[in-house]
Symmetry: C2
């Protein structure tokens, strides 16, 4: 079912500092910051040859990652995103196998304009997993 | 400097359960478990089309990931590994930019038989980063 690793998301306390570190110290190609108010995040894409790192910072009130940052003030790895071909079929298979889908269980349009779902980290060994239909 | 994302390492409390979940529920290709006593881990490689997930479980006394698992009994994402072409040049550049290299600062041979170093997570936004010369 799962295909490529689409991205690893890292929540950071200061997006400008993190972006500059990835650019100048780690020598990676980084995007301009992109506000995604409907997702409550500002994101910077770090382009690696085979996948992306997404640096995330809370945007606006009620950001879903604000609590994570409060609990991890230095930042931390927030989730991994695996690509799937058919998000509905994937969701139904995962649910049938006992995994919990977060929210109302219906895909929403993610940061890349594609349908996404999140799976409960307690069902996947402490790892928050996003699946994205590509 | 950094190239491909070589792998994402996830520490899991039960390697057999995690392997079976990645195989049968997530539908990924998984390896047999591999004991790496010199690294204090047993690992299973989850092969994705563009990178790997490494499921890790402590092996033997004094495993470097035993404390992580004690602090995160459900498991969790442990580190990301970026490939570099020249680990010594990379190390020297990272140190010159103020990043702390863990241990004695000399590369050791990692789980893939290649030289690796780990960078202090406090210098990289709460993320433990391994660099591996490929």
């Amino acid at each position: 079912m799962i295909g490529r690793l689409n991205h690893v998301a890292i929540v950071v306390p200061d997006l400008a500092v993190a972006t500059e570190t990835y650019r100048s110290t780690l020598g990676a190609t980084v995007s301009a910051p992109l506000d995604l108010p409907e997702h409550g995040v500002t994101t910077v894409f770090v382009e690696l040859p085979n996948t992306k790192i997404e640096l995330l910072h809370p945007l606006g009130e009620g950001s879903t990652i604000a609590k994570f940052l409060a609990n991890n003030p230095a930042g931390g790895i927030h989730h991994v995103c695996y690509e799937v071909e058919d998000i509905i079929a994937s969701r139904d298979k995962l649910k049938a196998d006992g995994l919990r889908v977060l929210g109302d269980g219906e895909p929403r349009i993610g940061a890349h304009g594609k349908p996404v779902l999140f799976l409960h980290p307690k069902d996947l060994f402490g790892t928050l997993v996003e699946i994205e239909q590509v």
